[in-house]
């Protein structure tokens, strides 16, 4: 079984590497099973090509497989052979059942968290100067209008937040306002949940459309207060 042993070991090692080693490399993440399957398929294809490149290696590769399947002179492996014969049809049946069964899971939602803003809201700069006074005023407006959901600590954990999915944005999280420009915040605050484009579906955002209640100047001040309070800086074009 020598010619067959190496490929089996290689496949198992490849699987173990993809499943357990790769996700632990810094900056990596667990691989989806479909990707692991694809990589294993490529590995198997490579092994197959390598083993069948010459007549001798082909025989050395195929003969043990044939011997195993026909059960000739395989001694103790006979039990494994029966096991394979029983499990293979069961596996085929199981796979078929899984692919035809009606899913119990609700439809998946592929919401774009930060959809592109309309053209008129790109690249606007904050017309309100970043002075301590303006920041303080912005924080006052924030406390009155935003903090019930986004939280007094700018962490998205306000008292009114609990029922809302998606949860109100946590501004202290570096993946929210820190990677957005001020003009983007201006758009989101002005238009709210109902201003989202189609990519923002399923439109569960409870964010108010503040343009009906607050003047633009207040919104720009709130943006100043928000960045200052959350200890973040807006993204800029360097």
């Amino acid at each position: 079984m020598g010619a067959l042993g190496k490929p089996i070991i290689l496949m198992v090692a490849m699987y173990a590497f993809l499943k357990f080693v790769l996700p632990n490399i810094p900056g990596s993440a667990p691989l989806p099973s479909s990707l692991i399957f694809l990589y294993l398929l490529l590995t198997a294809g490579g092994i197959f090509m390598f083993e069948t490149v010459s007549g001798e290696s082909k025989d050395a590769f195929w003969n043990p497989i044939q011997r195993f399947l026909t059960g000739e002179n395989i001694g103790g492996l006979q039990a494994l052979r029966y096991g394979v014969f029983i499990l293979f049809p069961l596996l085929v049946g199981w796979q078929t059942y899984g692919s035809t069964a009606v899913s119990d899971l609700p439809p998946t939602e592929s919401r774009t968290i930060h959809p592109a803003p309309p053209g008129e809201y790109t690249g606007l700069s904050n017309p309100v100067p970043k002075t301590p006074d303006n920041i303080m005023q912005g924080k006052g407006f924030y406390a009155a209008y935003c903090s019930p959901c986004h939280g007094g600590n700018f962490d998205g954990k306000g008292p009114a937040a609990r029922g809302f999915i998606p949860a109100p944005a946590n501004f202290a999280d570096p993946t929210t306002i820190a990677m957005l420009q001020e003009s983007y915040l201006f758009w989101r605050i002005k238009k709210g949940g109902v201003g989202l484009p189609i990519e923002g579906a399923p439109w569960k955002s409870a964010m108010p459309r503040w343009e009906v209640e607050l003047p633009d100047e207040w919104i720009w001040k709130i943006i100043l207060g928000e960045y200052d309070g959350a200890h973040q800086s807006p993204r800029t074009w360097e």
């Binding site: 096991g83 085929v92 199981w94 109902v194 579906a201």
Partner: protein, 275 residues
């Protein structure tokens, strides 16, 4: 042959155990989704359309949904009495009943609750189908119950300020208050003849549902604290009426397994002959 037989038995036993493990894992996955969707269990015989205390409700899995004050539109409030609703549903292929249960320390004439559904294929914002600025959304169908009237109102809306009772009233509701808990059952036929204003419930299909509750208590000067847009709301969740059991999956699996077995048989015969 004896050892081979013993080994066969072992293989069979281990195989059965592995398959049982997969089935259990699959079943627990199915259970885990219940807090994002309401599952209307299929019954034979009538659903308890006017009995929130009926024993049969225990056969419907409960799902709990968190509530928030309505903040999307003015007038808003920042605090509400009801923090969660527990929802169960039953259907019999003709009628559907939805039981909403929540804690409320006092029974007041203005206590009220509502269900909201999207109507048709177009998506709608959960705040009364408030118009989206960049996309055209659809209307919503609201089933509203109030303690003091003791009945349901079947309503339509497409944005705040457009809520109105429908011409055809298809919904019934009954609320029972006991030990600080409201249990309100809403009922309707799965299908009505008015697909443009009523949600049409097709068994097996996921649809969107959301909830609203008003605590009808009054403040020190006798004003209602929660009224109109000042209420507890939920986001959109899923609702699905169970489809009748379908065993065709088992049949397809059995056919596939037999084909797999046949393939093995032919392959080995060919290999043996070839040698």
């Amino acid at each position: 042959m004896k050892p081979a037989n013993r080994i066969m038995k072992r293989v069979l036993r281990d195989g059965t155990a592995a398959i049982a493990a997969m089935i259990i894992a699959g079943a627990s996955l199915g259970y885990a989704q219940e807090n994002v969707s309401v599952r209307a269990t299929l019954l034979t015989g009538g659903v308890p359309v006017d009995d929130p205390g009926a024993a049969v409700w225990s056969s419907a899995p409960p799902a709990t949904f968190p509530m928030s004050p309505q903040v999307h539109w003015q007038n808003r409030i920042q605090e509400v009495t009801v923090k969660d609703v527990i929802v169960r549903a039953l259907h019999d292929g003709t009628q559907v009943a939805v039981l909403v249960e929540y804690t409320d320390p006092t029974q007041d004439p203005d206590d009220a609750a509502a269900l909201e559904f999207m109507v048709g294929d177009k998506k709608a914002h959960f705040a009364h189908g408030q118009p989206m600025l960049q996309v055209e959304g659809g209307p919503v169908n609201i089933w509203f119950w109030k303690n003091k009237t003791g009945k349901a109102l079947d309503m339509s809306a497409k944005g705040f300020g457009t809520l109105k009772p429908q011409e055809h009233q298809d919904v019934t509701a009954k609320g029972v208050y006991s030990n600080g808990t409201w249990k309100v059952v809403f009922a309707r036929k799965l299908l009505t003849g008015h697909a443009d204003e009523d949600v049409q419930i097709t068994a097996g299909q996921f649809m969107s549902i959301s909830f609203a509750v008003w605590d009808g208590r009054k403040d020190a000067v006798g004003e209602l604290v929660e009224k109109g847009s000042q209420k507890a709301v939920s986001s959109w969740w899923y609702f699905r009426a169970d489809a009748p059991p379908d065993y065709s999956g088992y049949m397809y699996a059995a056919i596939a397994a037999v084909l797999g077995l046949g393939f093995q048989f032919v392959l080995i015969r060919k290999l043996k002959k070839g040698q």
